[in-house]
């Protein structure tokens, strides 16, 4: 545990936090959570928005080092390419916490801990529900997939995890897959096209709630009943998604919680006090069926 080489001798902690961007509601909820809990925990937060660019994040980290913050936290845009700047941080004795996503550096001393979700796991959970749902049927199951932004980590991993599970059984067939850029509008547009070119769709797997919500509109427009004629699985569990789940329009949601703030502040304090922290803290995430959704709907924060 390093004590920070801080210039500010006072006891308030200054944290530099580099966020990926504000590309989705999920992300902004994540930002808000970090900002709010920093305030509650009395941590001075230096916030920087990288607008989805890794180079901006690296620049932000550099500038945090320059500003001699006590601790750095960031959600890496991608896994690779952090070694150089993390080494600089290490040289400057500034501890680093990763949130939301890990980096693939061999040198694990470059960061103290990683706090976040596991996108592959999320994809697997979605797949497992599907396998469970259709375990008694022998008919082929036609699946269409709405992917996230091409090349983005959640899209890659949620796709891979899902495929790993359903790929084991040949009756599951992914008949169409296309990117919906994580947005409702694209989700609707792509689904409309899917519906026209593929008459028999049994299941829709969307990499986030928003695309699923857009697709629901398309399905309704085509005169089908979402949740019945076409089963829908999504990831995230934002409020609108949970509402749709409770209304029976979505069948299953894998939670991916953006509310990392409080945990992050705790970890930061521990790290700065020199306490031992586990190398990996996975956020507590669950899955929701329609019944569960109805129960928890009123208590959801975002």
């Amino acid at each position: 545990g390093a004590t920070s080489a801080t210039s500010s001798g006072d006891d308030t902690i200054t944290m530099g936090f580099s966020q990926v961007g504000a590309e989705s509601g999920w992300r902004t909820a994540n930002t808000k959570s970090v900002q709010d809990s920093a305030k509650n925990a009395g941590v001075t937060l230096k916030f920087s928005d990288a607008q989805q660019k890794q180079e901006n994040q690296i620049k932000a980290l550099r500038s945090f080092i320059q500003q001699k913050v006590d601790i750095i936290a960031f959600s890496p845009v991608v896994e690779s390419g952090w070694d150089t700047v993390l080494q600089e941080a290490k040289r400057a004795n500034i501890p680093v916490i990763l949130t939301d996503r890990a980096v693939d550096s061999k040198d694990t001393t470059l960061y103290k801990t990683f706090l976040g979700s596991d996108f592959v796991e999320e994809g697997k959970k979605a797949g497992q529900w599907l396998v469970e749902e259709y375990k008694s049927s022998t008919d082929p199951v036609n699946i269409v997939e709405l992917q996230g932004t091409t090349g983005s980590a959640p899209a890659n991993d949620r796709k891979a995890g899902f495929l790993e599970v359903v790929g084991a059984d040949p009756k599951f067939k992914i008949i169409a897959t296309q990117t919906g850029d994580f947005t409702r509008a694209k989700g609707k547009e792509v689904m409309e096209a899917f519906l026209k070119s593929n008459p028999d769709i049994d299941v829709l797997y969307a990499h986030n709630d928003d695309m699923g919500l857009g697709a629901i509109e398309a399905i309704e427009g085509a005169g089908k009943v979402p949740g019945k004629d076409i089963k829908i699985i999504t990831v995230d569990a934002v409020k609108d998604g949970m509402q749709a789940l409770a209304d029976g329009k979505i069948n299953f949601i894998v939670e991916c919680s953006p509310l990392l703030g409080p945990q992050l502040m705790d970890l930061a304090k521990k790290v700065l006090k020199g306490e031992q922290v586990p190398p990996r803290v996975v956020t507590e995430e669950t899955t929701f069926t329609q019944e569960q959704a109805k129960e928890v709907l009123s208590t959801r924060q975002y």
């Binding site: 590309e23 509601g25 091409t150 296309q178 850029d181 409702r184 792509v190 096209a193």
Partner: protein, 337 residues
């Protein structure tokens, strides 16, 4: 219109590809009392792009460019949905959103015409800041609304026809009236063709440029309403992202030069349709997401090659004529006295 021939050919080719993959692609049915089918989808989803491209056409005709339309799309949708979510009337929300759009457009025009900033930078400012403004309005979240009246704009039907299509037709008619019946078109083309000559001919180019940017923003604002109404929600982060690129592409495919001057509204509409058809084609023939861009690159290249008279002349036949044989030997050069 000879100029529209090649874009039309390309559009037809794209549709043909679809028919090969999806035989009933061209069929249009009545479902739940409204028209239903892939062609309708193309028009419906292409509507916002057509609107934005119409405005962009006029801006480009003046020799400018507007990068901020995407942000205006987001702002307009966000503001309208915010108002509606706070129980404001739909008419008021729409008016407010469009009013703000026009204001933002006029601001662009002011920077270009009066302050004299290069259009790309002037509108880049609003492109960046406007996206922030949209997120500020939505607080970075997606505002979901339930409002049948608002839903009509982008997702509803009037007399079985998607309302968005009617809206585009109306805007197209108004634009065509302004530029071809009234003299706006001539003055725009004059400013874009030779700004100094137009000034010396007494054209009030500043006013025209401001009007044109305001009009482009109005179109973008309308498109923003359409997009948000279609999915009953406002997404300040993503609505209209990169639409400026598609719009410029549509204008260029439609045969309008980025250098300004002559423009073609019909060409632009065709250009937008080509882009939307291409998008739909990608979805329906199952191009994998990883190769989508390669496919797009291919089509765009083919489109611009086919459109280029130089290409048609040099490659698709009509080779250079061999030099004609000389005059009959012995014939003297005429030298009269």
């Amino acid at each position: 219109m000879r100029r529209l021939l090649w874009p039309l050919v390309i559009l037809a080719l794209l549709l043909l590809v679809n028919v090969v993959f999806t035989p009933n692609f061209l069929s249009i049915q009545m479902r739940d009392g409204h028209l239903y089918g892939s062609l309708i989808d193309i028009l419906r989803f292409g509507a916002p792009l057509m609107l934005v491209s119409l405005g962009m056409t006029l801006v480009i005709a003046t020799g400018g460019i507007d990068l901020s339309v995407g942000s205006v799309v987001a702002i307009s949708g966000a503001l309208a949905c915010l108002q509606i979510s706070q129980d404001a009337g739909v008419a008021w929300a729409v008016a407010l959103a469009l009013g703000l759009s026009v204001l933002l457009g006029a601001w662009n025009g002011f920077l270009v015409a009066t302050v004299g900033i290069q259009p790309i930078i002037a509108t880049l400012i609003l492109m960046v800041a406007g996206r922030g403004l949209a997120q500020l309005i939505t607080d970075g979240q997606i505002i979901t609304i339930v409002n049948p009246a608002y839903k009509l704009i982008g997702g509803g039907y009037l007399l079985a026809v998607p309302f968005g299509i009617l809206l585009v037709l109306a805007v197209l008619a108004v634009t065509a009236f302004l530029v071809r019946r009234l003299a706006l078109g001539l003055l725009i083309e004059a400013v874009g063709g030779n700004a100094e000559a137009s000034r010396l001919a007494g054209v009030r180019s500043k006013g025209i440029i401001i009007v044109v940017y305001a009009f482009a923003a109005l179109c973008a604002g309308l498109a923003g309403l359409m997009i948000s109404s279609n999915v009953s929600s406002a997404d300040g982060n993503n609505a209209g992202l990169w639409i400026e690129l598609d719009a410029i592409l549509a204008v260029v495919i439609g045969g309008t030069s980025l250098l300004g001057g002559r423009f073609s509204l019909g060409g632009t509409i065709l250009g937008a349709l080509i882009i939307q058809t291409l998008t739909t084609t990608i979805y329906s023939i199952g191009v994998p997401p990883e190769t989508t861009l390669l496919f797009k690159a291919l089509v765009v290249t083919v489109v611009c090659l086919i459109q280029s008279p130089a290409f048609r002349a040099k490659v698709l036949g009509r080779r250079r004529r061999p030099p004609a044989p000389g005059p009959v030997p012995g014939e003297k050069v005429r030298v009269s006295a």
